[in-house]
């Protein structure tokens, strides 16, 4: 047995395409195992569909590795959190006259990228419901200081700095007094926060990032009674334009999660569907060929009915009307395919086998029908089926992707098809978010190629008639 297996492997590896296919499939399996072990299935779904979890992730950020290929370095995400004891935070208390105090949180960060960030959001958390006055100061390199605003803090406050139009007005006024004119185009607030304030800012094409050390000061004014028991923290997020190995989507979700978890789902869906369908078809064909007569007639007519039924519209109708999950979809696909056209070709093979001398011999000694089907007939054609099982895996992976693309896929599932659908729905192609389309597509492509290459090589081995051709 082991000898036969190793001989088979050696023969298989003679085909380079088989080797490539095996490597691809093996790495997909490793990826799937990694996904399943690190993040449980339920957790992945919960995380993917949550909003809070992704709050600190940039919107529509490209993958980080694009920075290797571009001359202009795009900004990474910068998160500064005063709850973490890091040296970029400095918390001090300043006492003022009259029993008033200022709690000051000072964030320092270096901004060294060639492009402006996508957003800037400051979140302030307080453990008391009392109202405090806060003042936020933004200090650019070269000690250019702006007071962004005074705000009232009660409990929790999210300050969307990059949407603060008041600041922009003050900034423009300041520019006019400084260099005599204001930009002729709509200056973005993130640009105002990060741009060099010289003549270059007047033109959209020349505006430059002022690189260097930035400081953000959050001052909270409070009375003596609060200074010791009110705890105030802040989190400043300077959202980048690149993130992680896969980038993010329109809901700030890290695509890496979906791409990672898409692998086990695609593999499971494709493999379960193709193995089950092929075996069921073979089993039905064997019974039909062995018993013949009315049973054969019924099976034949069933396959003909299934041939008239248009497969994709049926699957679409069922998954649209009943809003089924991906595993129910798998069941529907299997049920609609077990009387597929494969039954006809397997039946033809079985009819030939039925006439072979060894079958006749078994009949002569009185073997049961069960034994005939499972010991003599099915094992005979098993080898010819293995290539078709492998070759049909991509069909089902793409079927799931196609349903997702039309928006009838499982709304909860985290699949490559769903990522494609989100991208298509958000018009990623028009907006130039190519990574968003390319990443899931490439994974689908690699998966399909892997199974196709292995399958075609297996086909040549198991169907020797093809080999010499």
């Amino acid at each position: 047995m082991i000898k036969a297996l190793s001989k088979f492997l050696r023969e298989l590896l003679l085909y380079k395409s088989a080797l490539v296919g095996i490597i691809i499939i093996a790495s997909l399996i490793v990826l799937s195992l990694y996904a399943v072990i690190t993040i449980p299935y339920g957790e992945s779904i919960k995380r993917w569909n949550s909003i809070e979890y992704w709050e600190d992730f940039p919107k529509n950020a490209m993958p980080s590795w694009v920075n290797f290929f571009t001359h202009k370095k795009l900004p990474e995400n910068i998160i500064l959190d005063s709850r973490e004891q890091k040296n970029y935070v400095n918390k001090t208390t300043i006492s003022l006259s009259g029993g008033k105090y200022i709690q000051r949180i000072l964030f320092t960060f270096n901004y060294i990228y060639d492009d402006f960030p996508s957003e800037v959001i400051l979140r302030i958390y307080s453990n008391s419901t009392k109202q405090f006055t806060t003042q936020i100061t933004w200090i650019k390199p070269g000690e250019i200081e702006y007071i962004l605003g005074r705000r009232l803090l009660r409990g929790y406050e999210a300050y969307y700095i990059s949407r603060d139009e008041d600041f922009l007005k003050r900034f423009n006024a300041n520019l006019i007094s400084k260099i005599g004119s204001k930009p002729s185009y709509d200056l973005d607030i993130t640009m105002a926060l990060f741009a060099k304030e010289d003549l270059s800012i007047l033109n959209r094409d020349t505006v430059e990032v002022s690189k260097g050390e930035y400081r953000v000061i959050i001052d909270i004014l409070m009375g003596e009674e609060d200074i010791n028991n009110v705890q105030i923290d802040a989190k400043l997020v300077v959202y980048g334009k690149v993130y992680g190995i896969a980038g993010t989507d329109h809901r700030r979700r890290d695509l890496a999660l979906a791409l990672l978890w898409g692998a086990p789902i695609a593999l499971a869906f494709g493999l379960i569907a193709s193995v089950t369908i092929t075996f069921m078809q073979m089993f039905i064909a064997a019974i039909s060929a062995w018993y013949g007569r009315s049973l054969d007639f019924i099976v034949q007519r069933m396959t003909e009915i299934l041939m008239v039924l248009p497969f994709l519209p049926m699957v679409l109708m069922i998954s649209y009307f009943y809003k089924i999950t991906i595993w129910m979809l798998l069941l529907v696909v299997i049920l609609l395919s077990i009387f597929g056209s494969g039954v006809k070709s397997y039946r033809a093979m079985f009819l030939q086998i039925k006439e072979l001398p060894y079958v006749e011999a078994a009949m002569a000694y009185g073997a049961s029908s069960f034994r005939m089907i499972f010991r003599y007939m099915i094992p005979k054609i098993l080898p010819t089926m293995i290539p078709s099982i492998v070759l049909s895996v991509p069909d089902f992976v793409f079927l799931e992707a196609a349903l997702a693309l039309l928006g009838v896929g499982d709304p909860q599932a985290v699949t490559w098809g769903r990522v494609l659908e989100d991208a298509a729905r958000e018009a990623a192609l028009y907006k130039g978010y190519y990574y968003w389309i390319l990443e899931p597509s490439m994974l689908l492509l690699v998966t399909a190629l892997g199974f196709a290459m292995l399958g075609l090589a297996l086909d040549k081995i198991f169907n020797p008639r093809l080999r010499e051709m």
């Binding site: 007519r301 003909e304 039924l309 248009p310 519209p313 109708m317 028009y430 008639r465």
Partner: protein, 368 residues
């Protein structure tokens, strides 16, 4: 004389058996078609659930119209309720929803089988008609134009290149085609996404989708050119997806036939290579090739749901999807019925033609 008699006797026998065969085949095909259409009726109506949706919609519409109609203002509530109930009953009768679903499902079946396709629930044609027949006929040309062209192009190009490769198998070009065949593990629409990305989004030389520029050009020539421009990407996507595998299977198919004993014999006899190809290889391969072509053409009239969606092509495929998304079962049933009819007729015709033209097919028992 005796010989002629025997011969005509033989002919008569063949004709009789052929007639019997055709009738039995015809009955079997009709039964499967009817059952398949009935299954589609059940699924498209969600086993009667769609009716409930439509009933609630009727109620809603009736109450709404009464509320908005100034003629009913000032009426007493119970009177209004009575009027509403009457109107709802009438509407339900008009839709034919007053009888149980099982009963109506057979009505639907008879309507479908007699090609009485009826009216759509929600969809309308561009001309504003609710007749299912008009809606389908309006979309059909777009699907035929695109997918029949694609299928014909694919079929003939792979037929001839397959034949060419079978002649010089083992050559470099043969190996290239064989090694390209894994490309076909991906569907056409998938390549469509890439092509849109390259030619529409990045290079900007071809349209993203649709059938004609907006606004459509006035001059018929420019109109045709604009349609052609919109056809390039979908056709190319299917060509990339299916050319290699089609050529590969055609080539293998011809190779199998060219290694038959009678071909070897002809070669041994010294029959010229052209002659062998024409008479000994092409002729016996004709029936399966014709079948394939016929089935391809019929399925091409149904369009392709996903490709049409990706390319925003207004054909039968996108109509089918619109019908599913709008719970519009009459349209769905109409499309499937037409498809089933075409398929059944084609299969029966092909059966008959083969019996007539292929001397190797013998009419034996029933159900072969």
């Amino acid at each position: 004389m005796v010989l002629i008699l025997m011969f005509s006797r033989y002919r008569y026998d063949v004709l009789k058996r052929l007639g019997k065969y055709i009738i039995i085949r015809g009955i079997a095909i009709s039964i499967t078609t009817i059952i398949a259409i009935y299954i589609v009726i059940l699924v498209a109506n969600m086993g009667g659930f769609i009716d409930e949706i439509i009933k609630t919609e009727i109620q809603f519409n009736v109450y709404e119209s009464i509320r908005n109609n100034p003629a009913y203002r000032g009426f007493n509530k119970s009177v209004l309720e009575e009027i509403a109930q009457k109107m709802i009953e009438l509407e339900i009768k008009r839709f034919g929803l007053d009888k149980p679903f099982i009963y109506r499902s057979f009505n639907y079946l008879i309507d479908a089988l007699t090609l009485n396709l009826g009216r759509a629930y929600r969809l309308t044609s561009a001309s504003g008609s609710k007749q299912v027949r008009i809606i389908i006929l309006e979309r059909l040309p777009a699907s035929i134009l695109l997918f029949t062209s694609i299928q014909l192009m694919l079929f003939f190009s792979s037929l001839f290149s397959g034949l060419y490769l079978s002649r010089k198998y083992g050559s470099k070009i043969d190996k290239i085609i064989v090694s390209l065949s894994p490309l076909s593990s991906m569907p056409g629409w998938f390549y469509g996404i890439f092509l849109i990305m390259i030619f529409a989004s990045w290079l900007g030389i071809l349209p993203y989708g649709g059938i004609v520029d907006a606004p459509p050009p006035e001059h018929p020539l420019f109109y045709a050119l604009s349609v052609l421009k919109h056809m390039v990407l979908p056709m190319l996507s299917w060509f990339i997806a299916y050319f290699a595998i089609n050529t590969y299977s055609m080539r293998t198919f011809f190779l199998m036939f060219s290694s038959e004993d009678y071909v070897e014999l002809a070669k041994a006899k010294g029959v010229p290579a052209r002659e062998i190809e024409k008479k000994y290889i092409l002729r016996p391969t004709l029936p399966p090739i014709v079948t394939q072509l016929a089935l391809l053409l019929i399925s091409s009239w149904m369009g392709a749901i996903i490709t049409e969606n990706v390319f925003n092509w207004p054909g039968i495929g996108s109509l089918m999807w619109a019908a599913i998304a709008n719970n519009d079962s009459p349209v769905l049933i109409g499309i499937v019925t037409i498809y089933a009819y075409l398929l059944a007729i084609t299969v029966l015709l092909l059966d008959i033609i083969y019996v007539l033209i292929d001397p190797r097919i013998k009419i034996g028992g029933v159900g072969t």
